[in-house]
Symmetry: C2
Amino acid sequence: MKLAKLSVMRLFQYKEFLIRAKSIGIKNLFSDDLAEAMGTTSTQVRKDFSLFGLSGNKRAGYKLDDLLAQLNELLGKNEKQRVVIVGAGNIGRALMKYEGFYKDGLEIVALFDSDPNVYNETATPPVLPLEHLYEFVNRNKIEVGVIAVPYHAAQQVLDIMILAGIKGVMNFAPIALRAPKDLYINDVNLKLELESVAYFVNALKRDRTKNDV
Amino acid sequence: MKLAKLSVMRLFQYKEFLIRAKSIGIKNLFSDDLAEAMGTTSTQVRKDFSLFGLSGNKRAGYKLDDLLAQLNELLGKNEKQRVVIVGAGNIGRALMKYEGFYKDGLEIVALFDSDPNVYNETATPPVLPLEHLYEFVNRNKIEVGVIAVPYHAAQQVLDIMILAGIKGVMNFAPIALRAPKDLYINDVNLKLELESVAYFVNALKRDRTKNDV
DNA sequence: GATTATACGTGAAAAGATTCACAAAAACTA
DNA sequence: TAGTTTTTGTGAATCTTTTCACGTATAATC
């Protein structure tokens, strides 16, 4: 299957919305309703569905339960995915504490750090010494990892992850990591995202004042 | 100017790399070096530069100091941008504690929350009651805000921000916000990002086993 | 049961982003 | 200083994603 990354991301969002819609008793909906809720267009919604073979009923739209079942099948709700986080700093701990993961099949099973002051083997999830990363991942067959360490340590951590069998990484370190291409890397750079907001605010302001003249 | 969002984001990343390169004594470099460091191509680098009128020297590449000066000019390093964060939960506090912002022109001037237990007016940045958001933003002419509240509160917070004069928002709430189109919104959905990693790991695995048969 | 209205599904067109290909400028060489 | 090499800068081509346009199925109405 082609990796239609943006469509997949939207499918997850549709799913999220459908779960909420279900919880308030909605049984049927149209692509327009989804589009409206997601800030996109009904065509986009239907195109995404079309790409992945999700279908509804002409004239009557979609049955929420059916659609949700199809999405869960497609997005793999049933396969629980265990995740390790490396770096127990601000971001690592924020992710750890986020309760929303579990119900969607994501389980944070351990954090790792190089600072002995933060070790806590009895917590859930435990915070373990970085030296145990390889063995832990390897033994427990973990496939997804989060890198939340300073940039100078990130490549090193990734190399261990790869050796240990990790197949997909969410990377918060602001650096381009080297990896074999069968590893899936998702870079998330929060500073960059915030900087870009500041930039566009300024850019739009400049634009506006220029046009006023 | 056209909003070439992806190019702008890359420009910020080039800048980040240049700062590091400068700190280890590099004086000149080629588009190839930048590309290599960023995991992209030299053509992409030059195209980005071309789009924004950044130029170097044929055959001799780029003088690091010149390039950095041009980037700072373009990306507005000099204009300090003050930011408020609404929501003093895990993500809000993680951002607050991140020290990397300040040196790049971003200053977190206050957090806001609805929970009296987290108020702390004397801290830096202070954590203030949500009711003060409008007045604070309005009085201090803040233009950038971060929404790090649960999804059901996000629209309400945004509405206040808009009234108070905010022009750009980084939104961590997993919901499509309604806003006039002169407001710049950057949605960041961490759960979605992690879910998608898990999805692609599974998808690639399925693919691989299928091809092995 | 025939007619009509509505919303889906999807090729085709458009828009947006990346890569190609090469002319031209600058530095180095002899 | 003439010739060669290297790297930039950018139109054109390609690839990707989104939007358009419309045929078709289905529910509702008469």
